[in-house]
Amino acid sequence: MLPIVFEWHWDIGHFVFMGLFYAALTVIGLGLVVAFRSTMKDLNSGKDPHDLGHH
Amino acid sequence: MSANKGEHRFGMVIDLDKCTGCGACSVACMSENNIGTLLDETDKIRSITWLRVYQIDNGKAFPDTQIAFIPRPCQHCEGSHGHHTPCVSVCPATATDYDETTGIVSQIPTRCIGCRYCVGACPYHARYFNWFDVPWPKGAERGLSPFVSPRMRGVVEKCTFCYHRYQRAKNKAFLEGGSVGEKDYQTACTEACPSGAITFGDLNNPKHKVHELAKNPLAFRLLERLGTNTKVYYVSQRDWVQRKLDNYLAGEKLPVKAAS
């Protein structure tokens, strides 16, 4: 899973597999960060949740 | 026969015409590798026998009945390109590995998560899952071999070609100078066989007996057509025995032995 684990090989298999895995985790993580930050911004500006409109 | 990257390809040649089915190989294997006995061993597909001896017959009625015995250790498949062994390629946790220097398929019980995918992948039933904890009787630990760890419940285990003996032989060779000779590394089953049916050695080394024996036109491997590329060879003069070692379509002849 990490280069410090001894099964790790710097080969194409690990690049593709782990690369995609960490990319997916990063996207999910960034998505959550964006949602948190937007929430904080709206709260600080005193926005009323009912003004946000429905989705 | 494809070449290994490593210098050794340890393998076995078993002469089925010499095998009497006595089971000494199985017993030797169990005691060498600390294989436990359960309180109830009636369910054979849950008990552990790294080297199982199958009995087969030619399906004919008396007086034409013939029987043969097929000792079946792990076949130590090499697969198509070294590590593409049926079991090694599927293990999610790298708990089983193909050693490129010896050609031995290893098993690391302390790493095994017990998913049993490898058990399903192996067509030889050479892999065994520990369905139970072994109820070692009090004091039994003094009878255990210190060279092989006993396994816990919930993991898979299998024949390792007595890899600890290879390690011991390497240590000896290092201390005394020189290299591991044919006699220095022999599996427990090979030594125990009273009729000399099992021969073990380095298939790559022309000085080892198995090197020649495996080239015998009468030597076949179990389920060779699947492409498992095993390192256990079986020799028999009997046509029906050879046919029983693989699947053939109706009317298909025995495969012609490749000149290798």
């Binding site: 684990v5 099964e7 690990h14 597999f17 782990m18 895995f21 997916a24 999910i28 998505g31 959550l32 964006v34 949602a35 937007s38 929430t39 009323d48 949740p49 946000l52 989705h55 | 597909i45 849950r46 097929i70 390629s89 599927v90 293990c91 999610p92 946790a93 790298t94 708990a95 790493r111 095994c112 998560i113 017990g114 998913c115 049993r116 995918y117 399903g120 067509p123 030889y124 039933h125 065994y128 899952f129 520990n130 369905w131 139970f132 419940r153 919930g154 993991v155 898979v156 179990l222 389920l223 057509r225 699947l226 492409g227 498992t228 046919r243 029983k244 693989d246 699947n247 379509l249 298909e252």
Partner: protein, 410 residues
């Protein structure tokens, strides 16, 4: 005891007493499952009837089946958020909840199925990237995270919870970027539905399961994806229909169900064409190369050719053709029947690949062994279903799952 202030805006639910009485069923099944799980964890897998010949049993069948049927979540999500089929917004919430139930249920089950549950994380830490099962583990876990992220805004939309401004705004923002999660989920799901199929297709020493393929992917990789996205939308719709029958309320307009049926039908036709071609190639080329005929693999115990007819005919081509007809999709009962057959076909397929693959001896001198699950194995399987019933019942009662419900039941 009145819980009506927690109900979604403008809808009615049954009396609390009745609801609790209904919950006794999943709770009772859950008790059975808890006892079974305790025995399996405490005493070990000897509590099951699995053995060295049947290394996988009913648990893996249920696992594969619910993951295939749970594919409604990712595929409907993909159609709704990425391809912007807006009418599917009326059913996407149900699809997400069912997906979450299926995936989390499968993960719980796998935790008991492995011999050393405490070492489950070794599959990640010591990952063998060449194993299809590793891919399954990584994708299922990551996708479960995505499903949680997709489920959370729905929980936050509960009438009382959404009164908290922080949570309401957070739910709004999660919804706003749902396309990101839906796309990630699609990618992850695509690969693990495939790798679940790949798991069997790569078993080159198991002629029943082995398939040739494209590059590193055996044909089963692609077939499992297709059968999952063909049956997933059907399963989601069926659960909605069942909820309608139980609650006596219409939850989505029939046109939404018809659309789901159409999507299922077209994918199923496509799948059946490829699956039939794959079966023919396997029977006529792959197997003879291994010295076997198809007849050799369908003569052991109860595993006869009837399985093939049921899977490909009754539960394959028949629902595929049925769903092609507008008339069938318009009729509530026929649509449900076609969808039941479709889902059964996917379950049959997973069953055959898991159990029959192992049941057929490969060594010519090996004997056929039989397997029937123990009560503990049934208990855990029932537990996953109970978990689904419980979660979906609670979600339906307290969360605004169906946007059309208030309108349709005025």
């Amino acid at each position: 005891m009145d819980d009506s202030k927690f109900w979604p805006q403008g809808v009615k639910r049954c009396k609390p007493g009745m609801f609790i009485a209904w919950l006794l069923l999943p709770l009772a099944l859950g008790g059975w499952a808890t006892l079974s799980a305790f025995l399996c964890l405490y005493k070990g897998l000897n509590q099951t009837n699995m053995n060295d010949y049947f290394a996988f049993g009913v648990w893996i069948v249920v696992d594969l089946a619910i993951i295939a049927l749970g594919a409604g979540a990712f595929f409907t999500g993909y159609l709704t958020y990425v391809l912007r089929r807006h009418e599917l917004k009326n059913i996407i919430n149900a699809a997400v909840i069912i997906g979450f139930i299926c995936y989390s249920g499968a993960i719980l089950m796998l935790g008991i199925d492995i011999g050393q549950p405490a070492r489950g994380w070794f599959g990640f830490w010591h990952a063998n990237v060449h194993s299809m099962l590793t891919e399954v583990m990584f994708c299922i876990t990551t996708y479960a995270i995505v499903l949680i992220v997709e489920f959370v805004p729905l929980i936050l939309e509960n009438r009382q919870i959404s009164k908290v401004p922080d949570l309401a705004i957070f739910a709004h923002h999660l919804h706003r970027i749902m396309i990101v999660f839906a796309a990630t989920g699609t990618f992850l799901s695509f690969f693990h539905q495939g790798s679940l199929g790949g798991m069997f297709g790569v078993l080159y020493a198991r002629p029943f399961a082995f398939r040739t393929g494209y590059m590193i992917w055996p044909w089963t990789f692609f077939l499992f994806i297709l059968s999952a996205i063909a049956s997933g939308p059907s399963f989601t719709t069926l659960i909605v229909m069942w909820t309608e029958k139980m609650s006596g309320r219409q939850l989505t307009s029939h046109s939404v169900k018809m659309l789901m049926g159409k999507i299922s039908g077209f994918l199923l036709i496509f799948y059946m064409v490829l699956k039939t071609a794959d079966t023919a190639y396997w029977a006529n080329v792959t197997l003879p190369n291994m010295g076997l005929t198809m007849g050799d693999l369908y003569k052991q115990g109860p595993y006869g050719e009837w399985l093939l007819w049921v899977e490909l005919g009754l539960c394959g081509w028949l629902p595929a053709i049925m769903l092609m007809f507008q008339k069938v999709r318009e009729t509530y009962g026929l649509l449900a029947l076609a969808m039941i057959l479709n889902c059964s076909g996917a379950v049959f397929n997973r069953f055959v690949f898991t159990i029959q693959s192992l049941a057929i001896p490969v060594l010519p001198f090996e004997n056929f062994a039989s397997y029937l699950p123990s009560w503990q194995e049934w208990g855990i399987s029932a537990g996953v279903i109970a978990y689904g019933l419980l979660l979906f019942s609670l979600a339906y009662r307290y969360l605004p799952v169906f946007p059309q419900e208030a309108e349709l039941n005025k």
